[in-house]
């Protein structure tokens, strides 16, 4: 505490202005601390996870762990490749299924629907975004799993168990779509009406206006929405843990069971946490998740700036 603040404390006893100045000074400290909290939290998470992953990183080489397909912690072999491949499959598949639907529904809400129907559809999507993902997983167990097992997987020559990478991807697409929709709607609606009027005025059809003008102008916003969806699929824990089957092997097809990075933590957490090296390996998985999310966010920020410059109207 500085001398000036001590002076304020003395003044606060005698005058009302002193009180107000004291409150002003102290609140300055408090708010500054709160402002640094986000940075501190980020640093603490990264450093603590890094520190705790050091045992495994010093024991095995990073490249060997990331490219080995053999995950059997009890025999001290830590290959992350199956989980990494599973995560990539799930993320890629569910983004492929989710993005067209999300952009389509967002265009419908922002450009086609009006009046009560718009309010109704938009609030339905709000509700869908707020439902906890564990409930999606539970409903999927009795709806999506039999559906995939009896109809989809046999049609593509896959297994008939119903659980597996494809099921997880389908359910995760459903989970993240509402988030992507509401963010995309926001950025479409913030566009000025002159854009629509000008484009329609020079003879473009509504489809041409949306494709060549509106989706471009709202591009950076829609891109952030997609990125948010990516992050949620990538780090999804509960739905994959319920539906992926939990076998740590390289997936043979998109219908086979597998493992993602977060489910690796969930499935091996209980009994193996007692072994220090396994514990370190699982914490290293957490570190990988943080680093990938961080890199993607940073890359996205640069990319978004570029888009904003190129696609400005």
């Amino acid at each position: 505490m500085t001398d000036a603040t001590g002076g304020l404390f003395r003044r606060a006893r005698s005058s009302r202005l002193g009180w107000r100045l004291l409150a002003e000074r102290l609140s300055g400290y408090w708010f500054a601390a709160a402002g640094y909290l986000a940075i501190a939290l980020f640093a603490a998470i990264t450093l603590l996870l890094l520190h705790r992953s050091l045992p495994i990183l010093s024991e095995y080489s990073l490249v060997a762990m990331l490219t080995s397909a053999d995950w059997s912690p009890t025999q001290n072999s830590f290959g992350f490749l199956p989980a990494i491949v599973g995560t990539v499959y799930v993320t890629f598949l569910s983004m492929t299924m989710g993005i067209p639907i999300a952009v389509g529904a967002a265009v419908y809400i922002a450009e086609y629907a009006d009046g009560r129907r718009k309010t109704l559809v938009a609030s339905f999507i709000d509700v869908l975004a707020a439902i906890p993902s564990v409930i999606f997983g539970l409903v999927a167990l009795i709806v999506v799993v039999p559906f995939v097992g009896t109809y989809v997987a046999p049609a593509f020559g896959g297994g008939t168990a119903g659980v597996g990478i494809f099921t997880v991807s389908l359910v995760m697409a459903i989970v993240v779509t509402p988030f992507m929709i509401s963010l995309s709607v926001e950025s479409l609606e913030s566009l000025p009406d002159e854009l629509r009027e000008t484009s329609l005025g020079v003879g473009a059809t509504k489809f041409e206006t949306i494709r060549s003008v509106l989706l471009r102008a709202a591009g950076p916003g829609i891109f952030s929405a997609i990125l948010l969806g990516f992050g949620r699929v990538f780090g999804a824990t509960i739905v994959p843990a319920l539906l992926i089957g939990g076998q740590t092997q390289l997936p043979g097809s998109v219908f086979s069971t597998g493992q993602t990075l977060p489910t690796l933590i969930v499935n091996d957490f209980g009994e193996l946490m007692a072994l220090p090296l396994t514990q370190s390996a699982l914490i290293f998985v957490g570190l990988m998740l943080v680093v990938v999310v961080w890199l993607f966010n940073f890359g996205a920020m640069l990319f978004r700036r570029r888009l904003q410059r190129r696609w400005q109207y």
Binding site: F31, A44, A113, L242, N297
Partner: protein, 281 residues
């Protein structure tokens, strides 16, 4: 294909996309409400009955422990997180900070917002291991509070940004200090902040990955701050993996309760936002 047919096709496609999303939503909610409602109708007391000693195996008793666990974890966590969220957002939006600094803090908030919840769970777990403590209610509160902090800060930040500049200008004009001006701005942004509070609560109560490792997944009534506990999403997760059909049916009852709470919260947030709108200038 001529351009008008393309336009009609596109119109049909976006309508189909919206219809699909609404249809899926109706399916999920109705399956939860019907399946869960059926279980609850046959025995509504399971919500308020403490679990039996072999609850996860035989399904004796109810899941009051998870209902209480959720309330005792998410309630305090939301309160703690709110204090920090409002402070951080005030710092970013008012004259306490430079624009450059708030931009970089916003970048970190975005990264935190995108960080998977399981990372927060693992982070708190490493803290637990480091201090040599047991998984407990307290660490559940910490984990959920960390999880909610970026979410609520973002909502609060947006609400404060939307507050009219007149508020700040006129309070400074009357000779207010920065602190007093910030207080008035927060009051003007109250509806948005309340909405953010409720959304934070809803996200917190629905999240399982953060509390999975930090509260201990206990099957007893929570005994105190340092005692193991569980929450509704974790309970549903555990029940869904059970081999006993009776325990699995309880999962639907529990998700009925969770869905009703979350839907109720959204409704309340919309109503409150309307009610508080009269405090805004």
């Amino acid at each position: 294909m001529d351009r008008y047919r393309k336009q009609r096709l596109f119109g049909a496609a976006v309508r189909a996309a919206a219809l699909l999303v609404v249809g899926v939503m109706l399916l999920v909610v109705s399956v939860t409400l019907v399946r869960g409602g059926r279980v609850l109708l046959t025995d509504p007391t399971i919500v308020v009955t403490p679990p039996g000693s072999r609850y996860m195996l035989e399904g004796t008793g109810g899941f009051l422990h998870a209902v209480l666990g959720s309330a005792f974890i998410v309630g305090p966590a939301t309160a703690i997180s709110m204090v920090f969220a409002v402070s951080t957002a005030t710092y970013l939006q008012s004259d306490y900070s430079s624009e450059r600094f708030s931009e970089s803090v916003n970048m970190f908030l975005n990264v935190l917002w995108g960080t998977p919840p399981i990372v927060y769970g693992v982070f708190v777990l490493t803290i637990i291991i480091a201090v040599g403590a047991q998984t407990s209610l307290l660490f559940g509160i910490v984990a959920i509070a960390i999880f909610q902090y970026p979410i609520m800060t973002r909502y609060t930040d947006e609400a404060l940004r939307a507050a009219p500049d007149r508020v700040r200008e006129s309070t400074y004009g009357l000779g207010a200090t920065r602190f007093e001006s910030a207080r008035m701005t927060v009051r003007a942004a109250a509806p948005g902040i309340i909405a953010g509070l409720i959304m934070g609560f809803a996200r917190g109560i629905g999240d399982a990955a953060t509390v999975l490792f930090t509260t201990g997944r206990s099957t007893r009534m929570p005994g105190g701050l340092l005692d193991a506990a569980t929450t509704l999403p974790v309970l549903i997760f555990d029940q869904a993996m059970s081999f006993n059909p009776e325990v699995r049916s309880h999962a639907y009852a529990a998700s009925f309760v969770l869905t009703v709470v979350v839907l109720g919260l959204i409704l309340v947030s919309k109503l409150l936002a309307g009610r508080y709108a009269r405090y805004t200038p």
